[in-house]
């Protein structure tokens, strides 16, 4: 039987160390909603999501009360809309009507984000993919809860550089379209390489076409718990450090597994995966950067950061994998700048640059995340940053992503306030040298060789 010290430990994690379930994400296939008539399509989408997801929020709240663990977000992901709208949408404006339907349905069922306004173009774009991508600035500026993602490369296909070039401009246009709100539209747009089909975390969640009709995916959190556990082993060697992270990750993930199974049972929808990510929030003590500091760095970004992050990420996976029957999604440590107080401090202290962040993304999930850059950055420069990150993912057979925010009207030294879980960010300097000729070549980068790993 459970003893009192175990009960106290669990409740301390929840009450003092910000242990929570970050999201229960309900993936819904919209493939059966496809119709050549746009109005009918929108109606089908609305009806399907409202019927499948009607109990999502109430079930989330019930689980929260029953186990006494906060479930921060209840969210929905859908099949990439470029596919769903392909036969009905003749223009980008047509696609925007679907975005508005998704926004409305999110409001109706009470979720704070709905992901899947997406296109998968890792080899090349269809005309409907391109229409959707071109509609993103308009869609994200006219909706509140819709999240968009574009997968522009994979290890198997290489990188679609035409899409990378287009997205650079789209990021800038999205920033411009939402400039009255510190370009927040870009916080809801992720560019991926090797995007997973079952990611529960926004803004990059979508319900892949390899998935079933509906599925429950759960993302756990808990950087504060890992940090507290490491405080008890200060000065100990790497073996002790790694064992401590592994044990903690196991405990955190077990909670995610429990919540996922309960939600699946109550909703009558199959359980998909638990995403093992350490997801920070702007709250004090809920920071991945603070774990790196606890491991022994003055700030995230100091020499040793990539190694520390690599070991952290690996131990989280090792501990977590045993705790859950199915692991998937992004699974690793997130290093968003604006959503992590320790990362913000590191940038403000001058310890962390975009280039160091890029190195860190080689060893952890996911990529350059919630990075604010000057609003006058050129589209080709943004495309160049995206291409670099995609290349890291392609060559290393991992997911990488870019969620970058050129804040219109702001420059290095300014601060941007996004609010809520998105936090605030100092605007970071970008390398000024030109990559126009590289981006303007057009075409695609071939798939990499899978031998001679050096």
């Amino acid at each position: 039987m459970i003893n009192i010290h175990e009960v106290i430990e669990t409740n301390k994690m929840i009450q003092q160390e910000n242990l929570d379930v970050r999201t229960i994400t309900l993936g819904i296939s919209l493939l059966d909603c496809i119709d050549p008539d746009l109005d009918k399509l929108n109606q089908n989408i609305y009806n399907k999501i409202t019927s499948v997801a009607k109990d999502l929020v109430s079930v989330g709240n019930k689980i929260q009360r029953e186990f006494g663990i906060p479930i921060v977000n209840k969210r929905i992901s859908v099949t990439p809309i470029s596919l769903i709208g392909a036969s009905a949408c003749k223009s980008s404006e047509d696609y925007v009507t679907i975005a508005k339907t998704l926004d409305k349905v999110a409001d109706t069922v009470g979720v704070n984000f709905i992901g899947g306004y997406s296109a998968l173009v890792s080899k090349s774009m269809t005309s409907s993919d391109e229409l959707l991508i071109r509609s993103i600035p308009s869609a994200l500026s006219q909706t509140e809860r819709v999240c968009s993602s574009v997968n522009v490369g994979s290890t198997k296909t290489g990188i679609d550089m035409d899409a990378v070039k287009l997205i650079g401009q789209i990021v800038l246009d999205t920033a411009e379209a939402t400039k009255d709100r510190d370009s927040i539209g870009c916080a809801k747009l992720v560019v991926f390489c090797n995007a997973p089909d079952d990611n529960p975390f926004m803004a990059g969640a979508f319900h892949g076409v390899t998935e079933g009709d509906a599925v429950i995916n759960v993302g756990v959190s808990g950087p504060g718990v890992v940090k507290k556990a490491l405080e008890n082993v200060r000065g100990a060697d790497f073996e002790t450090l790694c064992e401590t992270i592994k044990k903690t990750a196991f405990k955190i993930t077990r909670v995610g597994q429990l919540v996922a199974q309960e939600a699946s049972k109550m909703l009558g929808i199959p359980f998909g995966i638990v995403d093992l990510s350490l997801a920070p929030t702007p709250a004090v003590g809920d920071s991945v950067a603070e774990i790196l500091e606890e491991i022994g760095l003055e700030y995230a970004g100091a020499p040793g950061t990539t190694a520390a992050l690599a070991l952290l990420n690996d131990q989280v996976k090792k501990g977590g994998v045993m705790a859950s029957s199915f692991v998937g999604g992004l699974s690793g440590a997130f290093i968003p700048v604006s959503e992590d107080q320790g990362m913000i401090n590191a940038v403000e202290a001058g310890a962390l640059t975009i280039e160091k962040l890029e190195a860190m993304t080689c060893v952890c999930s996911v990529g350059l995340d919630m990075v604010a850059i000057p609003g006058d950055t050129k589209a080709t420069t943004i495309s160049g940053i995206i291409a670099d990150e995609m290349a890291i993912g392609m060559i290393n057979q991992k997911t990488t992503a870019v969620r970058i925010i050129p804040v219109i009207g702001k420059t290095v030294g300014d601060r941007v306030e996004f609010g809520g879980l998105l936090g605030y960010a100092p605007v970071m300097p970008v390398n000024k040298f030109n990559c126009d000729a590289f981006i303007n070549r057009g075409g695609r980068i071939p798939a990499p060789i899978h031998s001679f790993k050096n």
Partner: protein, 90 residues
Amino acid sequence: MNRTVITVVGKDKVGIMAKVCNYLAENSINILDISQTIVQGFFNMMMIVDANDTPKELDKIAEELEQIGNEIGVTIRTQHEDIFDKMHRI
């Protein structure tokens, strides 16, 4: 069996156990195990109870116990045993 863990945390005083146990008896909830300890000067008490015979929903019981806690100045949490079991047992 559907077991529930009730924890009481706060400053020790007369009548905490009486209040909680009375409430449980009134609602046909059977106590299976009780333990207590002092952590950092705070009174910590844990009960494992069997709430299968109570007509009330666990939600409602949690809410009412929390209310009792507020009246006597302690924090009372009611949680399904599974969260502890999953976390601490392989």
